[in-house]
Symmetry: C2
Subunit: 183 residues, 2 copies
């Protein structure tokens, strides 16, 4: 049912069809009728601050290797969103964080991703984890704006700036006028 | 690689192992090495109100058939969380809703679910969709508290009540003391 590709991944022969009892087209394996229910994936992310400084990580892996990002990654099974955000900060920057509250929920339908982004405080030292080339606490004016890895990093940083003096605020969603980046 | 079961579903023979280049145990098909990356799934839900009344739907399907729930369901590919919440209200109650803001983000790690729940306003008539036995707008005191389908329905309703007079509030998460229900 699958062929191993030169990159080590496997290929399955899926056909698009509507499984019995379902109401929409799914990817179904033509050999064994396995239904590949592709659900949107959750990214847990954090804008982590220490005083007026903001934690960024320079990516050691593709995509966007060498560019700066917020601590973020795919949520795994068996954890809460908050636990996922803390785990990612630990994996990418050896950072212990104290989560304050939800900053934003962004949807990227083109790649079926939902990013749940927290506002958090750094409560440890930092050092690069295996997925980071370097990690750094930036003053706002020194943020490498032209070398950010993803649009959601820019959105998170600018939305964070709007909440700096606030303890209560509604979470942000995708900024208006950014549909071309997400559809 | 799969056997069809009497209920029409297919069974795959998965073994638990760490795929090359990964760092944790995954379910891998013992025949074809297909890796089943099970990611947490997103439920988009809404507390939908009309004046002081709250929309509930009595489930026509398992699990918890016959019990009352909020309009909610699995987010699909290619949509935003807000679009998923509007689609579910349409599917379950033929309801058009106007989303106000995020009410809560609940994590249910035992079943790897994240519920993103909105506060929303009803802007149409309602009638039962195929997954609902009946749909009704309840006064607060008439809500069938002992016949709610899921703990998250109770959480969403009580958290909603705390926000009634508020336009700005931080989203809620799992109530304290409910770990036994979610782990
Ligand atoms: Zn197959
Ligand atoms: Zn297989």
């Amino acid at each position: 049912m699958t062929d191993q590709l030169s990159n080590g991944f496997f290929s399955q022969e899926f056909k698009l069809k509507i499984p019995d009892g379902d109401d929409r087209i799914r990817r179904v394996c033509s050999h064994c009728q396995f239904v590949d229910y592709i659900n949107p994936k959750i990214i847990a992310a954090s804008v982590v601050t220490k005083g007026s400084k903001i934690l960024l990580c320079r990516r050691a892996i593709d995509p966007r290797k060498g560019f700066w990002t917020l601590p973020a990654g795919f949520m795994e099974q068996g954890e809460t969103v908050e636990e996922a955000a803390r785990r990612e900060a630990r994996e990418e920057a050896n950072a212990e964080i104290r989560i304050d509250r939800i900053l934003a929920v962004y949807s990227v339908p083109r790649i079926s991703q939902v990013q749940i982004m927290f506002r958090a405080e750094l409560v440890s030292d930092i050092s690069p984890g295996p997925e980071s080339l370097e990690v750094e606490l930036f003053d706002w004016r020194d943020i490498p704006w032209s070398n950010l890895a993803f649009p959601t990093v820019l959105w998170g940083l600018t939305h964070y700036a709007e909440t700096r003096s606030k303890t209560v605020f509604a979470p942000f969603s995708n900024p208006p006028g950014t549909e071309a980046l997400t559809r």
